[in-house]
């Protein structure tokens, strides 16, 4: 340790890994740490499993209480969701449709912009523009969603009002734009990794055959990376569907769904945020509805993530 000077740590580690004393005749203590290490790592894995099971269990438990009062068929077919009405109705379709509208709008922004940004970063950008653009995308990824919601409510909507005078103070359009920019880094950064993984030989073959750059990209590089790009888009969809703060702040709390992007709407996530802020008493049907909507979001997010992992891995 002392003889190694500034490299002391490294020198010792080499000596340990290759040293005969540590290898051929393990001390008793070493054997103990060996057994202990395996157990500790197993315990960590078990603990992670327990945490996941706890989330699943508590959602299932409360959803079961909900379904003892509302049948699953009612949940899936009733056309309105009015938990606070005198005769509350629990049809989840309006909430799901609102979430789908936000996802579609956000995808319309993020898919083209994200993919074009990824292609630009991978194949067109010079070193300096590349650094600046990567920093910008990384910054967008670091911005908390509540900040996007704030900007959508206070700046995007007023700006849109100049172009679309009929737009409401809470509207889906502004929320879609903000959610789109929020998921843009997911599409751009993951698509870029997929493009970067395309073998160089493939591009060189295309170039050698005399194809123009754009042709090599559209016919060889992008198809070769298509699975990774699709996985990136699936993950972006999952993030958009689970986004809560932007829709709560900018899209409002209108239970009725008109399909008009200039009006407000209420997504699955916004229902959870707004209902829990009114602090419903435990044991009420409203509280159980909260957990049921959360269970639906859980299943959706879990399934899309599984799909994205499967698309990304399968060859």
């Amino acid at each position: 340790m002392t003889a190694g000077g500034p490299l002391g740590g490294r020198a010792t580690s080499v000596a340990h890994a290759g040293g005969h004393g540590a290898v051929l005749r393990p001390r008793r203590g070493a054997a103990l740490s060996e057994r202990l290490a395996g157990r500790v790592f197993l315990a960590c894995a078990v603990l992670a499993g327990v945490a996941a099971m706890a989330v699943v269990g508590v959602l299932a438990w409360e959803s079961a209480a909900f379904f003892s009062q509302v049948s699953p068929a009612r949940l899936l077919t009733d056309p309105s969701w009015t938990p606070l009405a005198e005769e509350p109705r629990f049809g989840i379709l309006p909430l799901v449709a609102a979430t789908a509208q936000i996802v579609a709008g956000a995808a319309a922004v993020a898919f083209p912009l994200g993919l074009l940004t990824a292609i630009y970063l991978q194949y067109y950008a010079g070193p300096r523009t590349g650094t600046v653009l990567t920093a910008a995308v990384t910054l967008l990824a670091a911005v908390p969603t509540v900040v996007y919601g704030y900007v959508a409510l206070n700046f995007v909507t007023p700006a849109l009002r100049g172009i679309l005078p009929g737009i409401g103070a809470f509207n889906a359009f502004s929320a879609c734009l903000a959610v789109g920019v929020m998921i843009l880094p997911t599409v751009a950064l993951l698509s870029r990794s997929a493009l970067a993984a395309v073998p160089h030989s493939l591009l060189e073959t295309g170039m050698a055959l005399g194809a123009a750059r754009a042709r090599v990209l559209t016919r060889a590089a992008i198809p070769a990376a298509s699975r990774g790009i699709a996985a990136a888009m699936a993950l972006a969809v999952a993030r958009a569907a689970g986004e809560t703060m932007i829709v709560t702040l900018a899209a409002g709390n209108q239970a009725r769904l008109t399909g008009n992007p200039l009006e407000g709407l209420r997504t699955l996530t916004a229902f959870i945020a707004q209902t829990s802020m009114s602090d419903p008493a435990p044991g009420t049907i409203e509280h159980h509805a909260l957990a049921t909507v959360a269970a639906v979001l859980f299943l959706g997010g879990y399934a899309v993530c599984a799909l994205a992992r499967w698309i990304g891995r399968a060859r």
Partner: protein, 276 residues
């Protein structure tokens, strides 16, 4: 090249797309900075929320967010990295272990707000913690755990097989191989994943709102048992106010949070350089 380049429609589209992305980032940052400029000063950073916008500050919220960051890291990092080492280095290569690993990895797709609902039932009500820093820290740790696990596993998998084989061939035991070779080699990748998990969860407002974070907390939390307050929820509370003064406070809070998150990123960058 030039005659071809002039016909490069894709190139033009890519330049346009990249320019729009850059514009969005600059516009977002610009709007926030202009709004926050007149707000963020020592009084704002040290002061407490107030009915009067001119006197309001984010001192308690900063303390709350720092507490949450420490708790989330302390609870999720060891467990997540430990589980990743188990699945990559110890778990038997069979179907059951593969399924368990996938089941945990897919938790990363579950929206943050869902963890809020679970945390409300488990910690706030079930364990009777109430809407405290500790309840929120436990909830955020559950939220961060899948990301820590997935990114750490990726980092461990990227360590070349040869490193393990070489160390084993020299007689190192499994734990020696992991401690001396694999973990140091995977270090920079693991740090990247930890940073991502920490900044995502500490910036999340939705789970904290669901846990019942009060809108108005004037005392900085001193222990994890104290009442929950944090920068994201403070930004939300002020965002919902219609007065322009409070909108500026929300921007100031947002910028404070963003600076905090970027500091974490910068710290990680330095740490990564040192580990490499």
């Amino acid at each position: 090249m030039t005659p071809l380049a002039t016909r490069d429609l894709l190139g033009t589209a890519c330049r346009l797309g990249a320019a729009l992305t850059l514009t969005a980032a600059i516009a977002l940052l610009g709007v926030l900075l202009v709004q926050a400029l007149g707000v963020v000063d020592v009084g704002f950073l040290a002061g407490a929320p107030s009915r009067f916008a001119s006197r309001a500050g984010v001192g308690p919220a900063i303390a709350g967010t720092l507490w949450l960051a420490v708790l989330t890291a302390a609870l999720s990092f060891p467990v997540g990295i430990g589980a990743a080492v188990y699945f990559e280095e110890y778990a038997p290569r069979n179907r059951l272990a593969g399924l368990a690993g996938s089941a945990l990895a897919n938790m990363a797709g579950v929206p943050p707000v869902v963890f809020g609902v679970a945390g409300l039932a488990l910690f706030v009500r079930g364990m009777g913690l109430g809407p405290t820093i500790l309840a929120a820290g436990l909830t955020l740790a559950m939220l961060a755990l899948p990301t820590v696990l997935v990114t750490s596993r990726t980092a461990l998998r990227e360590v070349p097989r040869g490193v393990r084989d070489a160390a084993s061939a020299l007689g190192a035991t499994r734990w020696q191989v992991i401690r001396r070779q694999v973990l140091p080699a995977a270090g920079p990748g693991i740090v990247t994943g930890l940073t991502l998990a920490l900044t995502r969860t500490v910036g999340a407002a939705a789970p904290l709102l669901v846990l019942g974070a009060p809108a108005f907390v004037t005392h900085a939390p001193r222990t994890p048992g104290d009442i929950l307050t944090a920068l994201p929820t403070q930004a939300f509370t002020w965002s919902t106010r219609t007065e322009a003064d409070f909108a500026a406070l929300a921007a100031g809070t947002a910028v404070t949070l963003l600076v905090l998150l970027l500091t974490v990123n910068l710290g990680a960058l330095v740490l990564r350089r040192r580990l490499r």
